[in-house]
Amino acid sequence: MPSLTWYLTLSAVLFTTGVVGVLTRRNALIIFMSIELMLNAVNLTFIAFSAFLGDGRGQIVVFFVMAVAAAEAAVGLAIVIALFRNRRTVDINDVNVLKW
């Protein structure tokens, strides 16, 4: 069985990929996908630590994170649709009525 380090490294890589995606991509939907990646990296960390520590609470957190992430995605996509109806775009560079 791979050691804890492997899991943590994988989740750190996933998390960083997610953060980079959020920072570089300009499509709101891709940004949401990157955020999901970040949250799943978090889940992996929690599960890995949970197994390592023999403490089930980490796994409980994962269920909460998944449920909340689903709710957040639903709201986020609804907002993207509302914006799309106004602007016909999901590119966040075009979302620029408000600045400074």
């Binding site: 943590l8 998390f15 997610g18 953060v19 959020v22 709101a28 940004i31 949401f32 955020i35 970040m38 949250l39 990296a41 978090v42 960390t45 929690f46 890995a48 630590f49 390592f52 520590l53 403490d55 609470r57 980490g58 409980i60 957190v61 909460f64 994170v65 909340v68 709710a71 957040e72 709201v75 986020g76 609804a78 907002i79 993207v80 509302a82 914006l83 109806r85 106004n86 602007r87 966040i92 979302v95 009525v97 408000l98 600045k99 400074w100």
Partner: protein
């Protein structure tokens, strides 16, 4: 008394009332579609019940729901604060013209006000990292929806998108921090984590130390986002400008207070040695967290105040002003002594009256003349004398000049900082106040010393309800500037927190 689920529920009645209010409001919304104001009345009644139940809920300190939630005078204070703010916001919403355009959907709006308030009461008591996350998300998701409620308005849906993106990213960051802390400390409970840290082995060097630093900084990013501290503030001006103004006021007052409740509990319980007797609680985890927070505080107040100087939209100016106020409030967290935290609580009481008053006037004026631009306030003092005087008093109070509540709040906060080793912080804050005088006075100058651009000096007539509301907000602003003894006593009694070893 050993805690059980049933004894926990007995101590959880106000929150339960809010949760039931949310459910009742949703059922109302399905049963009587289109009668949104009725849903609003249900929510208002639910808030009143929750408020009435507050005195019957014991003030601990006690742990309920397996230590998920702390019941202590500190959380009781913030619960009162958010429920009362919720009531005021619902009353504002009944008057708002901006929301009338979406009148058929207004029931949903009130549902989410209830959910938002429920989430903030949870934030006030959250004593476990999981509970903190869930409470923040409940508040977050409700406020994304509310910020974009007037979805046909372009800036509103844009504000909602920016809010949900920033919010989701920062909660992701915070969660990653929590997972690292969980792995390192073996617990999510703030009190247990404190015990691990207090024993102090293996955390001060090497990888563990680096991991802990990353974890706490990531959590700080999530909490800093909630209180709109620099550099996590970028969403604030956009969301505050784009959201319906009732929601802007709600976020600026209650959501910020709840964020501070979590931040204070997080640092005080986890990192600060509460047995030091000096005027500052020292952090003992090998990092000088006081200094980190002090840097954050200086950055927040300075950026907030300086950018506010250039704003021409009053909603946006008040957004930057609220960032600056978050900076002042952070000073109390830096000191983190009993007097520092009591000063934060007192400042929030004053902030409640001055900020809600100011937002209310901006809302009433926008409903009347359809603009939030500073140039449209030219001659406003003469065109609407009572409301004009009210607005002037709120702005003076926000600046912190006597004889207003804002002055007392700043005085007590600054004196708590002066008593600590962070004297320089108080000096920076005073200099910042001078900067803030400039942009508040700019509005006053337009109101009283300048003629309207279009030469229209006909009086603006507000409905009696508006004038009465403004007067109701003037009274505490002046009264608490002169007589604040009971408030000081109340806040000093409210600093008691559920602490390790208690």
């Amino acid at each position: 008394m050993p805690e059980t689920i049933s004894s926990s529920i007995a101590n959880f009645r106000p929150e339960l009332a809010l949760a039931l209010t949310f459910i009742a409001a949703m059922i109302m919304e399905f049963a009587a579609r289109g009668k949104g104001r009725l849903t609003g009345a249900v929510v208002l009644a639910g808030f009143a019940v929750a408020l009435a139940l507050m005195p019957f809920s014991p003030a601990g300190p006690e742990r309920i729901f397996s230590g998920m939630i702390a019941l202590d005078p500190f959380s009781v204070f913030f619960k009162y604060f958010v429920i009362v703010t919720g009531i005021v916001i619902v009353l504002f919403s009944f008057q708002s013209q901006e929301l009338r355009r979406d009148a058929p959907r207004i029931g949903e709006y009130f549902c989410f006000i209830a959910a938002l308030t429920f989430g903030m009461t949870l934030m006030a008591g959250a004593a476990n990292l999981l509970m903190i996350y869930i409470a923040i998300e409940l508040v977050g998701i409700s406020s994304y929806i509310l910020a974009g409620f007037t979805k046909s308005v372009r800036r509103s849906s844009e504000a909602a998108l920016k809010y949900v993106l920033y919010g989701a990213v920062s909660s992701g960051l915070m969660l990653y921090g929590m997972s690292l802390i969980f792995g390192l400390m073996g617990s999510l409970d703030l009190v247990r984590i404190h015990d691990v840290l207090a024993r102090g082995h293996a955390i001060t060097t090497g990888w563990s130390f680096a991991t802990m630093m990353i974890g706490v900084v990531l959590i700080l990013a999530g909490l800093g986002y909630k209180i709109s501290a620099v550099p996590f503030h970028f969403w604030t001006p956009d969301v505050y400008e784009g959201a319906p103004i009732t929601i802007t006021a709600f976020l600026a007052v209650a959501s910020k207070a709840a964020g501070f409740a979590v931040l204070i509990r997080f640092f005080t319980v986890m990192f600060f040695d509460m047995y030091t007797t000096a005027n500052v609680r020292a952090s003992f985890s090998g990092v000088n967290w006081n200094l980190v927070l002090a840097v954050l505080s200086v950055a927040t107040m300075t950026v907030g105040n300086f950018i506010a100087v250039w704003q021409d939209n009053l909603k946006r100016m008040l957004a930057y002003s609220s960032i600056a106020h978050a900076g002042y409030l952070l000073m109390g967290v830096v000191v983190s002594s009993d007097s520092g935290i009591a000063a934060v609580l007192l400042y929030f009481i004053m902030y409640f009256f001055m900020n809600l008053g100011a937002f209310y006037v901006v809302m009433a004026v926008a409903d009347k003349i359809g603009s939030e631009h500073i140039d449209d306030y030219r001659g406003f003092g003469k065109r609407a004398p009572t409301v004009g005087v009210g607005f002037a008093i709120f702005l003076i109070s926000l600046t912190g000049l006597p004889p207003t509540g804002g002055f007392v709040g700043k005085l007590i906060l600054f004196s708590a900082v002066v008593d600590s080793p962070f004297l320089w912080l108080a000096v920076v804050a005073v200099l910042n106040t001078v900067v803030s005088l400039y942009y508040y006075a700019r509005v006053l100058r337009n109101m009283y010393l300048r003629e309207p651009l279009d030469g229209d000096i006909s009086p603006i007539r507000f409905r009696p309800a508006v004038v009465v509301t403004v007067v109701l907000f003037i009274i505490p602003n002046i009264l608490f500037g002169l007589y604040f003894e009971p408030l000081v006593k109340w806040t000093q009694a409210s600093v008691a927190m559920l602490l390790p070893g208690a």
